[in-house]
């Protein structure tokens, strides 16, 4: 079954279908109910599923996430929204010390089946406190799963998978993708931790996720004009990430660039690069390169943000460096 729609509607549909399929699924967050969500990702859900299961909360991020942990421990499958990923900073205790650790520290007595949806990413000139990509924080925390869908189909199926997952999932949506159009396949297999070969190629691998996929595609198009076939691995899951897929690709191409919008230093790419260096050392015909944001808070001015965000130019340059 397939029909074209926007990424943001795929999120709403996944939420709606999950609520229809499982009465324990509930949503809460700031302005998610009556207003349909700040990005309209929860539009219509109040009407279809009622005020008990779709709730507006006060501006209380720490308590929103903390309450989700409590609800999850009490038989619900809450999906909560933190309006901008930057605001998770207010909820870190709930995410890191409660959600992530409950199962472990209670000796496996329980699980915390909750999803924290939150948008990251620049491109809207939203400035330093409304744009940051913080997924690496969560990928560093044992007990959490982190996912970042790049396509409309994945927005749907990965959200369904996240809701079905028994452990807390940080579900990261890139704001710049909300308007993206694409096909939906509600019956697509849903799983945790599987990457997707977005485009096959022989000469170099570009590992990426989220909105940077589109920069990678543009880069691959341009590289193709020079006869360079880049293989794009869309990670989808950051924790756990698909080592098998990444390693297989790198073993084939012997060159790899890891590209993401988040700050490069200590980022997701750093972990993947380190693993490739240790496990695939003898396959490498060039240094592992990363393309990420510079070590700077994301700046506001249009010109500054444009210079800040990793783009196709930088990916092309990095791939060419691996081929030099």
């Amino acid at each position: 079954m397939s029909k074209p729609l926007r990424y943001v509607n795929a999120i709403a549909q996944a939420l709606s279908d999950a609520m229809a399929a499982d009465p324990s699924v509930m949503l809460f967050g700031e302005d998610v109910a009556a207003a349909g969500g700040p990005f309209k990702a929860t539009r219509g859900l109040l009407d279809t599923h009622g005020p008990e299961r779709v709730r507006d909360t006060p501006i209380s991020e720490a308590s929103i996430v903390g309450a989700a942990v409590g609800a999850a421990l009490t038989g619900m499958r809450p999906v909560v929204e933190i309006m901008f990923m930057d605001f998770v900073a207010l909820a870190m205790d709930a995410v890191v010390n409660q959600a992530a650790k409950a199962r472990f520290m209670f000796g496996g007595q329980c699980s915390v089946p909750m999803v924290l949806r939150t948008p990251h990413g620049g491109g809207l000139n939203a400035g330093p406190q409304h744009s940051q990509c913080l997924e690496a924080w969560f990928a560093h925390i044992p007990g959490l799963r982190v996912v970042c869908p790049a396509t409309v189909a994945d927005a749907y199926s990965l959200l369904r998978a996240s809701i079905e997952a028994p452990d807390p999932v940080v579900f990261v949506e890139n704001k710049a993708l909300y308007a993206l159009q694409g096909d939906l396949d509600v019956d697509a297999p849903r799983g945790i931790g599987k990457a997707r070969i977005d485009r096959p190629g022989r000469h170099a691998t570009i590992v990426t996720y989220g909105a940077t996929l589109y920069a990678a595609r543009a880069a691959a198009d341009r590289l193709a004009q020079d006869g360079v076939e880049a293989e794009i691995v869309d990670l989808r899951w950051i924790q756990p990430w698909d080592e098998e897929a990444v390693f297989a690709s790198v073993a084939k191409t012997h060159r790899v660039v890891i590209a993401h919008e988040a700050v490069q230093a200590f980022g997701v790419g750093a972990e993947i690069a380190a693993r490739i260096a240790s496990d695939l050392f003898d396959e490498l015909d060039a240094p592992v390169l990363r393309v990420g944001a510079p070590f700077m808070p994301i700046p506001f001015a249009k010109s500054l943000e444009a210079a800040y965000l990793p783009d196709a130019d930088r990916i092309v340059a990095a791939v060419k460096d691996t081929l030099a």
């Binding site: 302005d31 507006d56 930057d86 400035g127 700046p299 800040y308």
Partner: protein, 332 residues
């Protein structure tokens, strides 16, 4: 030591006229920003305080030079009232090199530390701990300063407010909690956001609470002067200003969640119109008010031209401020 007792005489007309000019400056500036935003001359998003100008003018007007304040995402008015250079303000919001923050912060992060402005803030409630700490510093340093925390009604739900009320009360900090209660938190009414009331919350911590009509300039100015001075000598105070948000939560918000009557009734309660009427009644000439409007407009025109002419920020220069230069690190 200034007295904390309420004054009986109303504000003299010349003081009111100065505060009225501040309101006019805020109104005209934000109306200009609204147009600039619609014309895509401003990146990102902006939250305007049109309809709430009396709070900014009245409270900031009550501050002494050594006082400090932290504001919110809806903070243009406070910063303008404090006297931030208008061209630097426009440059910042338009993302220019000469902006007060070098174009790195934008509307939600305008700050001028030379004026005791601890910054607007993109995080709801985040200004509260900043102001609490600033008050602690005033107290410790015996600066005689007061710190003001502006916050919206929506921030009443943030734990930060509750924690800061407690701290301020425990330590009797020279601090004023100024709530700009415009009845809306984004797209949700306050009634659906907060189960208590601010006076009860203050009472729980033993902090005196005072409510004023936030659209009555003289009333705000009067009350603010009193609570600021009370805070200076006697510890924390809460000033809740009931006011009105005319525009959407941010520019471009069609406000479908508000009913038409409410929006239609807003100009009724226009703080500017009300203070103009009061001034005329007190003997200020019509043409004086007209001249005031003209002078504000020309200031804005000059600042806007300067902002438009200003260069875009240099990306590499931005790196210079990720850390403070220091001889303590090898790379600096």
């Amino acid at each position: 030591m200034p007295s904390s007792a309420p004054r009986n005489d109303p504000f003299p007309p010349d003081r009111l006229l100065a505060l009225h000019r501040t309101m006019q400056l805020i109104r005209a500036t934000e109306t200009t920003l609204s147009k600039l935003f619609a014309d895509s001359e401003i990146p990102g998003f902006i939250h305007l305080s049109v309809g709430q100008e009396a709070v900014a003018a009245g409270v900031i007007g009550a501050l002494a030079p050594q006082d400090t304040f932290a504001t919110t995402h809806r903070g243009h008015g406070h910063v303008l009232a404090r006297g931030v250079a208008l061209d630097l303000f426009f440059k910042e919001i338009m993302g220019r090199a000469g902006g007060i923050c070098g174009g790195r912060g934008g509307s939600m992060h305008v700050a001028d530390l030379t004026l005791g402005v601890l910054g607007a803030n993109g995080i709801v409630g985040a200004g509260l701990p900043l102001a609490t700490g600033s008050a602690l510093a005033h107290q410790t340093r015996r600066s005689g300063g007061v710190a003001v925390a502006f916050f919206g009604d929506g921030a009443m739900a943030e734990g930060a407010l509750h924690e800061c009320l407690n701290m301020a009360a425990l330590w009797r900090l020279p601090m004023v909690f100024v709530c700009e209660n415009n009845g809306w938190s984004e797209f949700s009414p306050t009634s659906r956001q907060f189960a208590a009331t601010l006076d009860k919350l203050g009472a729980a911590f033993g902090i005196p609470h005072r409510q004023v009509d936030g659209n009555d300039l003289a009333a705000v100015a009067q009350a603010a002067t009193e609570v600021v001075e009370a805070a200076r000598s006697d510890g924390p105070r809460i000033l809740e200003c009931i006011t009105t948000r005319w525009h959407g939560h941010f520019e471009g918000d069609p406000q479908r969640y508000r009913n038409a009557d409410e929006i239609a009734g807003l100009p009724e309660n226009d703080p500017l119109r009300r203070s103009a009427e009061a001034l005329l009644a007190a003997g200020i000439e019509e043409q004086d008010l007209a001249a005031l409007v003209a002078s504000v407009d020309s200031d804005i025109a000059v600042a806007l031209e300067a902002a438009r002419a200003d260069a875009l920020p240099d990306f590499d220069a931005a790196f210079r401020d990720v850390y403070t230069p220091t001889t303590l690190t090898a790379g600096a």
